[in-house]
Amino acid sequence: MLELKSLTKRFGDKTAVDAATFTVDKPMMIGIIGRSGAGKSTLLRMLNRLSDSSSGQILFEGREITALKGAARREWQSRCAMIFQQFNLVPRMDVVSNVLHGTLNRRSTFATMFNLYPQADIHKAIEILDRLGIAEQAPKRAEALSGGQQQRVAIARALMQDPSIILADEPIASLDPMNAQIVMDALRRIHEEDGRMVIANLHTLDTARRYCDRVIGMRDGRIVFDGRPDQLTTGVARDIYGAGADFSEAATSTAIETLDRANATLVVA
C-alpha cells in the first residue's frame, strides 16, 4: 500500500533523514518514536509533500508520490491529511470554516474565497465535529478554544479531507495528559472505525506502546527499529534514544522510568 524506498533528505551537509525504507501493506496505526532532531517531522513532511525529498521514492498503491507536481501534488496532499503539534488552524476563523478548509482541494478558488461552501459540506463538517465531541463549539472562533479542542478541530479538518492516510506530527506534545488521551483515543477510533492509516510522531514511549500496532524508531535520521510494540525492549528503547550520552529525552518518558528505574535515577543524580 505505502512503500518508502531509501527516502533521504539533506539540509546542506546535514542528513535529516537517511535512506528511510519500510513497507506498509494494510491500514494500521504506526507510531514513529525518537528524540527531537531524529528526523521524524522531516519524514512526515516529505510524505505529505510539504517538503521535497533529496533522493529516494515514496510509492502509494503503486503510484510514485515523490514525482508529483502542481495540481497532482495538491491532490495527493488532500488524500494525505496532516495534523500538527501547534494545530495550525486559522485562529480568527470560526471552527466550522476551519473544518471546511479540508475541502479546499475539491472546490473552486473563487467559491472558497467568499466562503461559499455547499450546505451538505457544512452539515458534514458539523457531524464530524459532533463525532469528536465538540459540535457545541461550531460557531466560535478557533482561537477561543482550548488546546485539546483546537487539536480536535484539526482532526476534524483532516477527516473532512476524507484521506487515505492521516499523518500526525507530535499531535499531543502541546497538550496536558487528559487532552492528550482524548486526542489519541480519537485518532485510534478513526483508525478502527474508518480503516484509515494513521502515522503519528510521538515523543513518549508509553503512548506508542498503548495506541500503535507498529512502532518505528528513528535515530539521527536512520530507522533503527521497526516492529510490534511488544518487541520494544529496554535495550531497544535505549538504543533509539541514545542512552548514556544523552538520556534526558528518554528520562521524561514515564515508560523508560518504569522499564529501567536504575538508569533514570542515575540521570537525576
Binding site: 466550522v96 467568499f114 466562503n115 461559499l116 450546505q119 457544512i122 452539515h123 458539523i126 457531524e127 459532533d130 465531541g133 465538540i134 459540535a135 457545541e136 463549539q137 461550531a138 460557531p139 485539546g148 479542542q149 487528559m178 482524548i182
Partner: protein, 291 residues
C-alpha cells in the same frame, strides 16, 4: 473525560446545523451587500470623475503613453549624454537624499515618542492618549507640500523648509504606525521590568523597544524611500535638490528630455539601493535579535 461537551449535549446536531446555516446565510447576505456597495461606489465614482474631467477619460486615455514615449525616444537619441548628465546631477541628488534622511531621522524620533504616548497599556499618561492621537492625526492630515509652501513663503526657498515639512508628516505617520506595532508587543516583559522597580522610560526602552525594533526599522526605511520621493517633489516648489532640476528639464519643453531621463534613472537607482540596503540591515537585526 473532563470535557463537559462530551457527555452533556444540550442541543442535537440538527439544531447546531440549522443554527450555523442561519449564521452562514446572514454572513453571506452581509458580504453580498458589501460587494454591491463596493461596485456601486467604483462605478459611480468613475462616472463622476469622468464627467468633471475637462477632456474626458475615454477621449484622452490613448494619449497617456505619448509623453513617456517622447521622453524615451529623445533620451535614446541622446543616450551618449546620459552618463555625463548623471554625474552632473549627482550633487542635486545628494541634496535631496540629505533632506530625506534628516527629515526621516527627526520624524522617526518624534513619531516614536508620540506612539508610546498614544498606545493603550503603555502610555505614561493614559488620559492624554486622545490628545497625542489627535496630534499625530493633525500632522498626517496636512499635506507636506502645503507646509513646505507656507514655510518657503515665510523663510524663502531652500532645503530647510522641505526638511521641516517632511519631518512633521513623518512624525504623524510614524506615530500611527508605531503605535499599532506597540499594540502587538507582549506586555509580560514590561510587567517583569515593573516588578523590579523600573521607571517608565526604562520599561519602554528595555521592555518594549527590543521587541518592536525590527518592525520599527523596517517602517523607518520604507518611510525613507517615501521621503526621498517627497523630497524630490518638494523640489518642484522651490526646495532645491533634484526635484528642482527635474522641473526645469521637463517644463522647458523638447530638447532637455535626456536630462529628465538621467534624473529618473538616478532616482530609480537610489530607490533600489535603499531597498537592498534596508532589507540587508533588517535581516541582520532580526537574525541577531531573534534567538
Amino acid at each position: 473525560m473532563t470535557d463537559a461537551t462530551l457527555h452533556s449535549p444540550q442541543r442535537s446536531v440538527g439544531d447546531i446545523q440549522t443554527h450555523y446555516m442561519a449564521l452562514t446565510r446572514q454572513k453571506r447576505m452581509y458580504s453580498g451587500i458589501a460587494i454591491a456597495v463596493f461596485v456601486l461606489l467604483m462605478v459611480s465614482g468613475f462616472y463622476v470623475a469622468d464627467a468633471r474631467n475637462a477632456g474626458g477619460f475615454w477621449d484622452g486615455w490613448h494619449q497617456i503613453l505619448d509623453f513617456p514615449a517622447g521622453v524615451l525616444s529623445e533620451a535614446w537619441e541622446k543616450r551618449a549624454n546620459l552618463p555625463g548628465l548623471m554625474v552632473k546631477y549627482l550633487p542635486a541628488l545628494i541634496e535631496t537624499l540629505n533632506i530625506a534622511a534628516v527629515a526621516t531621522l527627526i520624524g522617526v524620533i518624534f513619531g516614536l515618542g508620540l506612539s508610546l504616548m498614544s498606545t493603550r497599556g503603555l502610555a505614561k499618561w493614559p488620559f492624554l492618549i486622545p490628545v497625542f492621537r489627535r496630534i499625530s492625526d493633525i500632522l498626517r492630515a496636512i499635506p507636506e507640500i502645503v507646509i513646505a509652501l507656507v514655510l518657503i513663503f515665510m523663510m524663502g526657498g531652500g532645503p530647510v523648509p522641505a526638511m521641516v515639512a517632511i519631518a512633521l508628516h513623518t512624525a504623524g505617520a510614524m506615530g500611527k504606525l508605531y503605535s499599532e506595532v506597540n499594540e502587538n508587543a507582549d506586555l509580560k516583559p514590561v510587567e517583569g521590568l515593573a516588578s523590579v522597580g523600573a521607571n517608565w522610560m526604562q520599561r519602554m526602552m528595555l521592555g518594549v523597544i527590543p521587541q518592536v525594533a525590527p518592525n520599527y526599522l523596517s517602517y523607518a526605511l520604507l518611510r525613507l524611500e517615501i521621503n526621498i520621493r517627497a523630497s524630490a517633489i518638494l523640489g518642484f516648489v522651490g526646495a532645491g535638490g533634484i526635484g528642482y532640476e527635474l522641473r526645469n528639464s521637463m517644463t522647458w519643453g523638447q530638447g532637455r528630455f535626456d536630462e529628465a531621463a538621467a534624473i529618473f534613472i538616478l532616482l530609480f537607482i537610489t530607490i533600489v539601493v535603499v531597498d537592498q540596503v534596508s532589507s540587508h540591515f533588517r535581516n541582520r537585526l532580526i537574525g541577531t535579535g531573534g534567538h
